[in-house]
């Protein structure tokens, strides 16, 4: 199916090709500001998605594939990781990107399937509330975490990781 651009298929003189000039706003599918948000969201899904592949694969590797795997995960393991600012930053980035990526995905799905305006509004309100709570909670946990917990007598709790004995004496 090769169509040569002969004179026969060219538009008649005086009729502009589609979209060649200004389009009356009432014929646009969306207003320009809403369009730019969706564009930013579209780009964000791809950029954050690529980053999350690396962030989550390393997360799974370090937590499940090396060492004792699933059995190594306990309070001391988390404490050991978060004593290193690299892992704090790693988990913080993962938390924010994954939550925003997932929330935007859920937003898309709600927009696709919830046909009633009020249903969409309710579902998205619940979604945004849940996402906000989880992001703030997770961020606060990472930054306020205390690895070397002590009892009233000032002694280290038995769950404390080994390195605490050098820190608190």
């Amino acid at each position: 199916m090769t169509t040569t651009n002969s004179d026969a298929v060219l538009p008649a003189q005086g009729i502009e090709a589609p979209r060649s000039g200004r389009i009356d706003p009432k014929y646009l599918r969306s207003n320009p500001s809403a369009g730019s948000f969706e564009m930013v969201a579209w780009v964000f899904m791809r950029v954050s998605g690529a980053a999350l592949v690396v962030l989550i694969f390393v997360h799974l590797w370090v937590n499940l594939m090396v060492g004792d795997g699933i059995h190594q995960i306990d309070f001391a393991f988390v404490a050991g990781k978060w004593s290193n600012p690299v892992w704090q930053f790693w988990d913080l980035t993962m938390l924010w990107l994954a939550m925003l990526h997932g929330t935007n995905g859920m937003r898309t799905i709600i927009n696709d399937y919830a046909e009633k305006d009020s249903t969409r509004l309710w579902l998205k309100s619940i979604l945004y509330l849940a996402a906000t709570v989880i992001i703030i909670l997770g961020t606060m946990v990472i930054f306020t975490f205390e690895a070397c917990l002590v009892n009233e007598a000032g002694e280290l709790l038995e769950y404390a990781p080994a390195f605490c004995e050098n820190v608190t004496q």
Binding site: I73, V78, G138
Partner: protein, 134 residues
């Protein structure tokens, strides 16, 4: 120029039916599943701020045999979503992306299978090594 409703392969539009649609369905379902796990996972990790005992008790649930199988399912969903997501990026940004989107899905499935064999073997290995019975 005759306009036919179906492409030469008889499959209709690019994404209707077959690989294009099913990868989209798979991407949605795995995405929703991962999202709900993520909510739970942030909550269970937050227990480190409640007490070491609370965290260890709840994280201990992940070491139950049934949960270990669940983890394989979860990682299966994550790995598919990850590889298919990279495929979507290639469909969008690579010049030949739409031409090879079917082949890339088969590549995703092969890579998924290889990754999951490796993960499952290693995960079950570490699980049985440290398992103290019911």
């Amino acid at each position: 120029m005759t306009q036919t409703k179906t492409s030469p392969g008889g499959r209709g539009t690019l994404y209707k039916g077959r690989e294009g649609m099913w990868s989209w369905v798979g991407h949605r379902i795995t995405g929703v599943g991962i999202f709900f796990f993520l909510l739970v996972h942030v909550l269970d990790t937050s227990l480190v701020r409640v007490s070491p005992e609370a965290y260890n008790a709840v994280i201990g649930a992940y070491k139950h045999p049934i949960m270990v199988l669940g983890e394989i399912g979860l990682v299966g969903a994550i790995v598919f979503h990850a590889f298919n997501g990279l495929r979507i990026i290639l469909v969008d940004f690579w010049k030949q992306g739409t031409r090879y989107h079917r082949q890339m899905l088969w590549a995703v499935l092969v890579l998924w299978f290889v990754t999951m064999v490796g993960f499952s073997v290693r995960h079950l290995m570490t699980f049985f090594e440290g398992w103290e019975g019911f």
